[in-house]
């Protein structure tokens, strides 16, 4: 933020980042709520024990005793619980470490934060490829991920499609959106064509 030339750009950069990446607040909230519930339960059981009332689920002392002298049933339960906890832990670690990119890309613009959906990039690429190859609209499809785009063209029977021309056309058209999108373009021409 300190490197930004004007005040608004910091906010805009944050908006761009928040739009492109998924928020982790849901996972954090769920984990915290679960943690709070477990802590509250342990606290309640301790108070009930101190007062001398009947325990809600299990008396802490008996629970610890059972854990220290495990029988067959307890070992099975402990294994199941441990397995569930391991899976949950892996999920949380993955959520924490992965960038959580959504299918959107920021586009540089002199005013405001501009974010476009990758489907728009893919549709633009498919349109450019279809026009360049001279095939009907449905015969050119594209997928886009990050800055790389893959175009698939099904030629019309009897009309050869030049892969190089299609690639150049797609690169050119995507380059008009932003130069980054036109850099990595893969074109695949289907072996088998379709009639008209």
């Amino acid at each position: 933020m300190s490197s930004s030339p004007n005040g608004a750009s910091g906010v805009e950069r944050r908006i761009r980042r928040r739009s492109v990446h998924r928020s982790r607040s849901t996972a954090v909230s769920v984990a915290l709520v679960v943690l709070a519930l477990v802590a509250a339960w342990i606290g309640t059981e301790s108070v009930l024990r101190a007062v001398g009332a009947a325990p809600l689920l299990a008396d802490p002392q008996t629970a610890v005793d059972t854990a220290l002298r495990p029988d067959a049933a307890f070992v099975t339960i402990a294994e199941v619980i441990a397995g569930v906890l391991v899976v949950l832990g892996i999920v949380l670690v993955v959520l924490a470490l992965k960038p959580g990119r959504q299918h959107r890309s920021p586009v540089p613009h002199e005013r405001g934060a501009v974010i476009i959906d990758t489907r728009i990039i893919a549709a633009t690429a498919a349109n450019a490829a279809g026009t360049a190859a001279g095939v009907p609209d449905g015969n050119a499809t594209a997928t886009s991920r990050g800055t790389s785009t893959e175009v698939r063209v099904v030629p019309v029977s009897g009309i050869a499609v030049d892969e190089g021309i299609v690639r150049d056309a797609v690169k050119d058209r995507l380059g008009q959106l932003d130069e980054r999108f036109g850099r990595r373009v893969k074109v695949r021409i289907a072996e088998q064509g379709t009639l008209s």
Binding site: T131, A132, A133, G134, P136, P155, V156, S157, G158, I159, A160, E191, Q192, G193, T194, L195, S196
Partner: protein, 104 residues
């Protein structure tokens, strides 16, 4: 079939039109009436594939004539439609005699 970037739009030839065209060409080269000739279009590795079924005019060397007409049909259809024709299969179902039904 693209008009290039300066001409908006595109020329499309429907499969029906291609079939009719190939049928007429095949009938002409086989010497049979067009209504007795059937043509199915397919795709052979990106090129047009013709499947022609019908009779041909009586001749001494039927197989030889059929082979030459297959080549001729292939070239002519490619010329007329501007498509690359990969293969032309001809399945003969009989012969057509000239003056088969004489009008008295």
């Amino acid at each position: 079939m693209t008009g290039g970037p300066e001409v908006p739009g595109r020329v499309e030839i429907t499969a029906r039109a291609l079939t009719s065209c190939a049928r007429a060409v095949a009938a002409e080269h086989l010497g049979a009436p067009a209504r007795r000739v059937r043509v199915t279009l397919g795709d052979h590795q990106g090129s047009l594939a013709l499947d022609i079924t019908g009779p041909m005019a009586a001749a001494d060397d039927l197989v030889g004539r059929a082979t030459t007409s297959a080549t001729a049909v292939r070239d002519r259809v490619g010329e007329l439609t501007g498509r690359r024709v990969g293969s032309a299969h001809i399945e003969l179902t009989g012969i057509v005699r000239e003056h088969e039904t004489r009008v008295r």
